[in-house]
Structure formats: structure tokens, C-alpha cells
């Protein structure tokens, strides 16, 4: 590089280059649509080709999982649900059987608040349609009729490679679990390919590998009422951050918001929270837990969190106040109050 009056512009241009490409070269972002959502894979450091191959792999994997686990599609889960409706058994492979076993134990631990057998209820509300949003809540009598039959994983039996349901109204819907499983698998895949620093973010729910160079990965948690970022935290190798909120999928009817997180006890959208965030090592468990904790709401979440082994939890209540476990309080920093401008950090430590 020449140092002259033209060298100064050169130097400025180099500074500009350094400023412009430093973050660009450090982190490569791969983005694709899969699992009905936008998936970002940010890779730090590892060479581009390796990362590109990993991202392409994960995209294929996510697309296959989406097909296999869609409750009403042509894949494995859709086949099972149609068989249940006819009162028949259906073949099930070891992978899906293992997954359902895990889901059943999480459902049991959550006292049934996380329930993967609500497929018909979700469909009745119109939340299973990928293309359309419902416009009005369903008839209360139809909700009651479904619940009266008795839903829940205890109605399912898996034996000799086949699955059976004692209730034809049961349909499996892995929403609130599948995305977590997929994120875990993506992380496994990246690690297997030798990627040592990355974030997998599937529609807002994420898990990290390694670090961002000489510092941990930094995550912002979106404000539940669309006002930017409400809190920030540093996430370490292998940890995942999952959030469930009433803002993700909803419709308004006669001045009331109806969202997609249904309470299996009432058959209606849960009302005890507007968002729940957990930090946990296992994305699949975290995914099931945010759903259960959301349904538990501000009164009951502590017991459910303990039963599910969740130590790091933040809940934003229906009135906008924030509650956190002491462990979460230690890790997370609020950057703005929730909704009423007066955050009330409730908890043992308050």
C-alpha cells in the first residue's frame, strides 16, 4: 500500500473494507425456508464450503421431517392419524416410535399440559392449515365433544412396529416438539461435519454450538408486542433458547385474541401468559417445556418447570409483568420493561 494523499483514501477504503467485511467473513449466514418457517444457520469461522454443505444437508433433512411429521400430510404421521380415524393401527418406524416415547414422558411430566394428541383440536381451531388463518373460534359444543372422549398419550400403544389408539378422535400433532427435535438434529449434523461454532435458528427458536470467536453467542429475545428486543443473554455451547408466544399465530375475533397455544384442559387458547422463554441444553425438551409452561401460566409454571427439569425460565404474564426463575435472572438482562413500563420481577430472589 502506498502512503500518499491517495494512500489516505486507500487506507480509509481498507478501513471501510475491514469494517464491512470483518463481520461478514466471521459469520456466514445460510437461510432457507423449511418446516413452514425461515431457518437461519449462522456459522462462525469454519470454511464456507463445509458450512454450505452442512446447511444444504440440514435443509434436505428439515424438508423430510416436515413431510414425515405433518399431522395431515402424506408422511408417516398423516398415515397414522388417518388410520386412527378409521379405528385401525398403523405401522411406525423406530425413529418416530422413539420420538413419541420421549414426547409421552414429557407429556406425563408436564401433567398433560404438553399434549401431542391434540391434532383434531388444533384442526378444529383452524391452526393446522399452513395457508389460511381461521376467522372465528369453533363451536364450544364441538370442543367439548372432543375433550369428553379423553385425549392424551395414555391412549396410545406401540408394539411390534405398529401404533394403536383406543380413541379414534386422537390425532398426533408434534407442534411444540418437532421443531425442537429438528434443531437438535441440525446441531448434531453440524457437529458431525466438523462445524465448531454455529447457531441454528428455526423460526425464532435456536440452539448454539461453540462461540462467536472470543466471546459467547449473544441472543436477543423479541418483545412479545413487537417493540424490538426485550431481553438479551449470552448462550453457551450446546444451549438452546426457545420461546412460545401468543403473537406467533393468532386471529382476532370480536375484539379478542385467539392464539395457537391450546390448553388441553379447556380446549381453548391458554390465557395465563403471553410468552414463555426457556434456556436448556436440549432443544426438544425446551420446545415441549415452553408449550407446557405457557399453558400452566403465571400461577403454576414453577411446579411444571421443576417437574420438567427446567431451571432457566422467563414468563411474561397476561398483564405484561415479567416473572423469572433466579437462574434465568442471573443469565438474562432485560433491555426494556415488558408492557406496563414497570417490570415486576417476581420470584424467590425479589
Amino acid at each position: 500500500m502506498r502512503i500518499s494523499v491517495y494512500g489516505i483514501p486507500t487506507l480509509f477504503a481498507c478501513l471501510a473494507l475491514a469494517a464491512a467485511c470483518a463481520p461478514r467473513e466471521e459469520v456466514t449466514r445460510f437461510q432457507f425456508l423449511a418446516f413452514g418457517t425461515l431457518v437461519d444457520i449462522d456459522v462462525y469461522g469454519a470454511d464456507r464450503e463445509l458450512a454450505a454443505r452442512a446447511a444444504a444437508d440440514i435443509e434436505t433433512c428439515f424438508q423430510a421431517l416436515h413431510r414425515d411429521w405433518h399431522p395431515w400430510g402424506d408422511g408417516a404421521l398423516g398415515t397414522i392419524n388417518r388410520a386412527f380415524a378409521r379405528g385401525e393401527t398403523a405401522p411406525i418406524d423406530a425413529d418416530l416410535a422413539g420420538l413419541l416415547g420421549e414426547a409421552a414422558s414429557l407429556s406425563r411430566a408436564s401433567g398433560g399440559l404438553f399434549d401431542p394428541t391434540l391434532g383434531r383440536l388444533v384442526d378444529l381451531w383452524g391452526f393446522s392449515d399452513d395457508e389460511q388463518s381461521p376467522v372465528a373460534p369453533p363451536d364450544a359444543a364441538r370442543i367439548r365433544a372432543l375433550l369428553d372422549e379423553g385425549l392424551g398419550m395414555q391412549h396410545l400403544r406401540i408394539a411390534d412396529g405398529r401404533i394403536a389408539s383406543s380413541n379414534p378422535d386422537i390425532a398426533l400433532d408434534l407442534g411444540g416438539f418437532a421443531k425442537g427435535v429438528a434443531v437438535d438434529r441440525a446441531v448434531e449434523r453440524l457437529r458431525a461435519l466438523g462445524v465448531r461454532n454455529a447457531i441454528v435458528n428455526a423460526g425464532g427458536d435456536l440452539r448454539v454450538i461453540g462461540r462467536h470467536g472470543d466471546r459467547p453467542w449473544r441472543i436477543g429475545i423479541r418483545h412479545p408486542r413487537g417493540k424490538g428486543v426485550i431481553a438479551e443473554l449470552e448462550v453457551h455451547d450446546g444451549e438452546s433458547v426457545f420461546t412460545s408466544g401468543d403473537y406467533e399465530r393468532y386471529f382476532d375475533y370480536q375484539g379478542r385474541r385467539y392464539h395457537h397455544i391450546l390448553d388441553p384442559r379447556t380446549g381453548e387458547p391458554a390465557t395465563g401468559a403471553i410468552s414463555v422463554t426457556v434456556l436448556h441444553r436440549n432443544a426438544a425438551r425446551a420446545d415441549a417445556a415452553v408449550t407446557a409452561l405457557f399453558v400452566a401460566g403465571s400461577k403454576a409454571w414453577r411446579n411444571v418447570a421443576a417437574a420438567l427439569g427446567m431451571t432457566h425460565v422467563m414468563l411474561i404474564g397476561a398483564d405484561g409483568h415479567i416473572e423469572m426463575s433466579p437462574e434465568m435472572h442471573e443469565r438474562l438482562r432485560l433491555v426494556q420493561p415488558a408492557l406496563d413500563d414497570r417490570p415486576r420481577i417476581a420470584g424467590d430472589f425479589a
Binding site: 491517495y6 494512500g7 471501510a16
Partner: protein, 175 residues
Amino acid sequence: MTVSTSDRLIAGFAGLAIAIHVLEAALPSPLPGVKPGLANVVTLVVLLRYGWVAAAWVSGLRVLAGSLLLGSLLSPTFFLSACGAAAALLALAAGKRLPGHGLSAIGFGVLAALAHMAAQIVAAYFLFIGHPAILNLVPPLMTAAFVFGLVSGIIASTVLGILDRQPNSLRAGGS
């Protein structure tokens, strides 16, 4: 091939420019690499005393010798440098064609510095990455180019004044 007077002049001025550049590299600086750019004064002086072709030689030799000294020949830095220098020379040629009494060192200095900077930004944007962040740096970079172009123009103008007052100063034959 004989060594002409103008060859010697060009070599001498290029050497001077490189020497200034080496001296400046040793100066402490608030920002890494930011220097006042006195070597450019030489290009302006050569342009106004010996014409555009001589200035192009001095500037070209400096790009080459500078990158050889710093081991950056044919590297991206070198291409940025060459793009900038070429644009600056084109701007100087255009400045020469302005009507009226023409430009003095000050006008040439600003013209060359802005052209140099603009070419480097464009080259950096297209050669490397079209990252929009680079666009945010355009205003301060252009401001710096303007200020340094002005300063080098004033110094060159002063140097030219001193040279003009010395009757036996170097003159290229026939100019």
C-alpha cells in the same frame, strides 16, 4: 536506448515520492495507517511543471515500487491502489482540459483525491463484497479525501511558487 533528461526527472521525482512515503510510514498516527500524504504533492508538482505524462509515470512507478516494497504486488490492496491511481490520473487529465485559466495545484489536488477515493470505494464494493455497510462509510471517506486533497494542493502550490522563483531550477527540455 538513451537515458533522457525527462527519464531522469521522472526517476528522481518517483524516488522522492517513495522516500516521502517511507518517511511517512514511520510517523506515529492517531489511526493506523492514516498519514498526511505528502508524497502526492510530488505528483501535483510534476503535473504542473512537466505535464500529465510525466505525472502518470511518477504515479505509476510509485504504485508499483510501493507495492513491491510492501510485498503487496497483485494483491487486492494493489488493485485497489491501482484503481485509485488510474482514476486520479484520469481526473487530472480531465482537469487539464478545463476552459479558462485552468486549475492550480489546489484544484488538481482535490479533483485527484476525490476521484481516487470514489474509484476505490466502487472497486472495493464490487471486487470484494457488496455489503451495504460500506456505503455508510462513503461520506466520511469523501470528506477525508476532500480535506487531504486540499492540504496537498496548498503544499504543492507553495512548493511550485518556491521552484518558480529559482531561475536555475530543473526544467524539462522544450516545455
